[in-house]
């Protein structure tokens, strides 16, 4: 059943996406390849909408992906699936595990996980490039836009709106 599968997949993301919202992007990328729930194009649109609306980005993306897959119930189930592992883990930490967080062992595990998360994000990024930067005109646009983003620190919402306006004006 689709709802169980949605719940299971998002529960897994909630359990393995360590480091916050944007880290869920590579996992959603995996989902778009594994199932026909949403296309990669739709995933990029989801990321854009999630970054420019209120609320935690990871939650926004889960809601969007779930909604895209199975309507309103899908959105609710995917979000609950994503949230449940944190809810359980954080309650356990508050109750008993407090002394195990930030121990040398946990720090070693985190040290090893961070580079992997980085590589996963890079992989998703390459995938998005192949999808969105499809001709020379767009390559030029991407390069100029990158220089802008890299040197002028503005909020992501500002840049998403700007890229949309430029997309219309320059007929990207």
């Amino acid at each position: 059943m689709i709802y169980w599968l949605l719940f299971y997949e998002f529960f897994k993301i909630g359990l393995f996406a360590i480091g916050g919202g944007p880290v869920t992007i590579p996992f959603l990328f995996d989902l778009s390849e594994k199932y026909s729930w949403f296309s990669k194009e739709q995933l990029v649109d989801m990321i854009a909408v999630s970054q420019s609306t209120p609320g935690p980005i990871g939650i926004n993306m889960a809601t969007y992906a779930g909604f895209q897959t199975a309507g309103v119930s899908g959105g609710i189930i995917a979000t609950l699936g994503l949230v449940l592992p944190s809810l359980i883990i954080v309650i356990l930490i508050s109750k008993i595990l407090r002394k195990y967080v930030n121990t040398p062992c946990w720090c070693e595990v985190m040290m090893a996980i961070r580079p992997v998360v980085l590589m996963l994000m890079l992989y998703a990024c390459v995938g998005l490039f192949e999808l969105s930067v499809t001709n020379l005109y767009r390559v030029c646009f991407a390069v100029v836009f990158f220089i802008l983003v890299y040197f002028y620190k503005k909020s992501p919402i500002f840049y998403i709106i700007l890229s949309g306006i430029l997309g219309v004006l320059l007929k990207i």
Binding site: F16, A17, P56, I59, I165
Partner: protein, 178 residues
């Protein structure tokens, strides 16, 4: 009961009026939870953030769960978390519904072509700043190369890649201890 409602309203407001997620939500958390309702101290908030960064899941959700638990144990944790998430559910589904209605519009199409490139560039920028912040020693560079082979070469799934890295970290700790 009144306490739960007060807490629900507070977290609902945070979910409703903060853009950008994660770190960008810090000032709003501080204003609502530390200054206004005094649920937690600023030190506790910073502590929740640092634990949130090395536990699974969404950081803002972890902060909400920690705070809710501190105020009203398990039920409090559930109420705070659900209240934080609810605005996203409503807003995103409304927007997704509207967007799926609009098709074959050249202006929207061009805007989204631009936005897709914008999102890609923003993600690349995020990857670069993560690399600067997180790659600190030789061990991590080795893991990074290993991860590159696993992910780009062998197309290992994200879940498996994170799991393997966790095992390597654990194994390294056990070996050092001996």
């Amino acid at each position: 009961m009144a306490e739960y409602i007060k807490m629900f309203v507070s977290f609902f407001k945070i979910g409703m009026f903060t853009f950008g997620g994660g770190l960008a939500m810090f000032p709003m958390f501080r204003k609502e939870l530390v200054e206004k309702h005094k649920y937690i101290t600023e030190d506790e908030l910073i502590d929740y953030y640092s634990i949130g960064q090395c536990t699974p899941g969404i950081i803002a959700v972890n902060v909400a769960t920690f705070t809710g638990y501190k105020v009203r144990k398990t039920i409090g944790a559930i109420v705070a978390t659900m209240a934080l998430v609810l605005p996203s559910l409503i807003i995103i589904m409304a927007i997704a519904g509207i967007l799926s209605e609009i098709t074959d519009n050249e202006i929207i199409e061009n805007a989204f072509n631009g936005i897709r490139i914008g999102v890609t560039v923003l993600l690349l920028n995020e990857v670069i700043s993560l690399a600067k912040k997180n790659i600190k020693n030789k061990f991590q560079i080795i893991i990074l190369i290993l991860a590159g082979i696993m992910i780009f070469g062998l197309h290992v799934s994200s879940v498996l890649a994170v799991f393997i890295a966790g095992l390597i970290g654990g194994a390294k700790f056990i070996r050092q201890k001996k």
